[in-house]
């Protein structure tokens, strides 16, 4: 269920979203909002419901109940696995999705994305010949073709080396500074602490915490040395 977004309100509003797979509750009444230019990290243990949440926000899955303020077509969605064609070149992939997104000038948008992602010199290469990191950059570029107000990134840095990771977060930071609300999932809580304005802690489909990384740190007491230890202590304290 999708509610209409307003110009003055948050870029993304999620209200009481639930999702059931058979007898299992993958998400239980998750609600949060993302402001324009804000970066949100969704963290949690395996099976917490992070990918399910992003899939619902991206329109890949329908929620069992609850609503999302944005039409999925207005949201940029970047899945964990590069969702692009290995037999097409970088430019062909981007041009195909630009046309399917019905952007006004596909060629201009593709050129811009190639420039922004630093892939202009690889535009004619088949995707299957690229490294995992470059494929992920094309994957992200494909999610940004329609210049969305909200960008969803599912484990965006998982297949990247440190240098590529740095470039990725630099790129994401630039998007946020231009007003794009970014919601990403990660297992790397250090990245969440470093690059997210707020973190959402999910466990067993339940949203346990929403706030800044510092607030999460504070929530478990100052005796924890780093954010990852604070996160683990937080989950333990909540019975996870």
């Amino acid at each position: 269920m999708t509610a209409a977004a307003t110009e003055d309100g948050p870029a993304l509003q999620v209200r009481a979203v639930t999702r059931r797979f058979g007898d299992r509750d993958a998400l239980r009444g998750v609600s949060f909002a993302a402001a324009r230019g804000e970066t949100l990290a969704v963290i949690g243990p395996n099976g917490a419901g992070k990918t399910t949440l992003l899939s619902i926000l991206g329109g890949v899955l329908a929620p069992t109940s609850g609503d999302v303020s944005r039409d999925p077509r207005d949201v940029g969605w970047v899945p964990q696995q590069p969702a692009v064609y290995g037999k097409l070149t970088v430019a062909e992939n981007l041009r195909l999705f630009a046309r399917l997104e019905k952007v006004a000038d596909p060629d201009a948008v593709v050129a811009r994305m190639l420039e922004q992602t630093g892939l202009a010199d690889r535009a004619g290469d088949e995707l299957g010949t690229l490294s995992g990191g470059n494929r992920q950059r094309v994957n992200i570029a494909a999610g940004l073709l329609a210049d969305p107000d909200v960008l969803l990134l599912d484990e965006p840095s998982s297949s990247l080396d440190p240098r590529q990771r740095a470039r990725l977060w630099e790129f994401v930071g630039a998007l946020a500074r231009r007003g794009t609300a970014v919601v990403f999932t990660t297992h790397n809580v250090a990245e969440a602490e470093r690059f997210a304005d707020r973190v959402l802690v999910l466990a067993d489909g339940e949203l346990l915490f929403t706030g800044t990384p510092a607030a999460l740190h504070d929530a478990v007491g100052s005796q924890q040395a780093d954010f990852e230890a604070a996160f683990v202590a937080f989950l333990r304290a909540r019975g996870h």
């Binding site: 890949v60 037999k87 195909l96 399917l100």
Partner: protein
């Protein structure tokens, strides 16, 4: 949809191994099937309506008795005989596919045969009727060859006897002797004795004084010789085929086997290219993880399925048309029917494409989809080629139902109708249309598994 079509065609262009396999494999299969078509099923079920009386059914040829039942036993060794009690029952069993064919032996077969092979005999040859269902030319060819071979055996045995009789008649004509005709014993002079008599009379008779009695006997012999030589045409005709076979098609049509083999080969190619392509290209969307990106508002699931069906049908119909054009260099095909070829192959392609996307949606992975497509399509094709009467009735009914649920049989009927003017194109197209809808629904439901 056109962007997706262009994308898929580009992917195919960059996958030469896949495309080569898609073209070469169906050709190999078509050759194998073509070879298989030259052999018929073993021991077909054939209905026998024996109207011969229970007594007096033996034939006397030159003093030797021949029992047609002996020849029937030889026929029964190569078939499974099913006794029927009326012509209507025989026709029904043939029409329903319970038996491959029916043989009707008339009540007067022995009498007619007896009349045909005696010197005094004349009139119609005995006729054995063969009824069969010409639903496909393979079966038609098999029935004809089986029955012809058995009747030829009977004819050969009878003609051997007739040759002996003819030799006897010629000996009488040459040397003279007793001969029974119309119940009267006649003393035949023979050519040798006639010559001796005439020579004797000639030596004793002065020139110009006719010996009327001797000349009368010579005249009678000449008349008899003339009459018998007139009958010899009938006898010699009987020597070739004393028993005539009259074949009737109860249902179906006559398509030459080579033309039918073209339809089978083309349909097989169409099926393999289409099913493999549709299944593989749909599964590829999931394997490339692009499916989720596409259906989150960019393309509907229905449009995605339609695009794959159209892609597969277009590529497969083009391949099949090229194959048909190539075959036409060796087998005579009517190019005036080209528009119907296109209609039949496109319709068949759409139905195979719908089956293919259902397989692709169920299998979800390219390798699994390809394997499933082959494992499913080939047995379905071979089942559709099983002729009625070649298997038990219940099994054949099950085969017919299964064949009707898959596109091969109607696609073959459509191709046969389009290529060979076999009729029934409209029915086949309607059947294919129903299968397109049915399999598309299966594919749409199975697509839920894509996640």
């Amino acid at each position: 949809m056109r962007f997706l079509l262009a994308k898929d065609l580009r992917i195919l262009r960059r996958s030469p191994l896949l495309v080569s396999l898609l073209v070469i494999y169906p050709l190999l299969i078509a050759v194998l099937v073509g070879l298989a078509l030259s052999k018929g099923p073993d021991k077909p079920r054939v209905a026998i309506l024996n109207q011969l009386p229970s007594t007096g059914g033996t034939l006397t040829i030159g003093g030797t008795k021949v029992d047609p039942a002996d020849y029937a036993q030889r026929l029964f060794q190569s078939i499974v005989p099913v006794t029927v009690h009326s012509r209507a029952e025989a026709e029904r069993k043939v029409r329903d596919g319970d038996v491959l064919a029916a043989i009707i032996v008339p009540a007067d077969l022995v009498q007619r045969l007896q009349r045909t092979i005696t010197l005094s005999g004349s009139g119609q040859k005995p006729t054995v009727e063969v009824l069969y269902n010409a639903e496909d030319p393979v079966k038609q060819q098999f029935v004809q060859s089986t029955i012809d071979a058995r009747v030829a055996e009977l004819n050969r045995a009878v003609s051997t006897k007739l040759t002996q009789i003819s030799a006897g008649y010629l000996d009488i004509l040459l040397s003279g002797g007793k001969f029974s005709i119309l119940g009267r014993d006649v003393d035949i002079l023979g050519l040798k004795r006639s010559k001796a008599l005439v020579d004797s009379v000639l030596t004793r008779t002065p020139r110009g004084s006719p010996d009327r009695e001797a000349l009368q006997r010579v005249s009678s012999f000449a008349q008899l010789a003339i009459n018998n030589l007139g009958l010899s045409d009938v006898v010699l005709g009987s020597l070739a085929t004393p028993v005539k076979v009259d074949q009737h098609i109860v249902q179906g049509r006559r398509t030459p086997l080579d033309a039918y083999a073209v339809a089978v080969a083309v349909t097989l190619s169409l099926m393999l290219v289409c099913v493999l392509l549709a299944a593989g290209m749909l599964a590829l969307e999931r394997e490339e993880h692009a499916f989720a990106r596409l259906v989150r508002g960019l393309v509907s699931r229905e449009a995605l399925l339609a695009e794959k069906v159209v892609l597969a049908a277009g590529c497969a119909a083009t391949t099949a048309l090229l194959m048909t054009a190539g075959i036409s260099a060796f087998v005579s095909l009517d190019w005036g029917r080209f528009p119907l070829w296109v209609v039949a192959l496109v319709a068949g392609g759409l139905a195979f494409g719908a089956l293919g996307v259902a397989i692709g949606a169920l299998a979800r992975e390219v390798r699994a989809a390809s394997l499933l497509a082959i494992l499913l399509a080939l047995p379905i094709a071979f089942l559709a080629l099983v002729p009625s009467g070649a298997v038990a009735t219940g099994l054949y009914d099950a085969i017919r139902v299964i064949s009707a649920l898959f596109p091969f049989r109607p696609a073959l009927d459509a191709a046969d109708a389009a290529l060979n003017d076999a009729g029934g194109l409209g029915t086949a197209l309607a059947h294919l249309g129903a299968l397109v809808v049915g399999w598309a629904i299966v594919a749409r439901v199975a697509l839920q598994r894509f996640g």
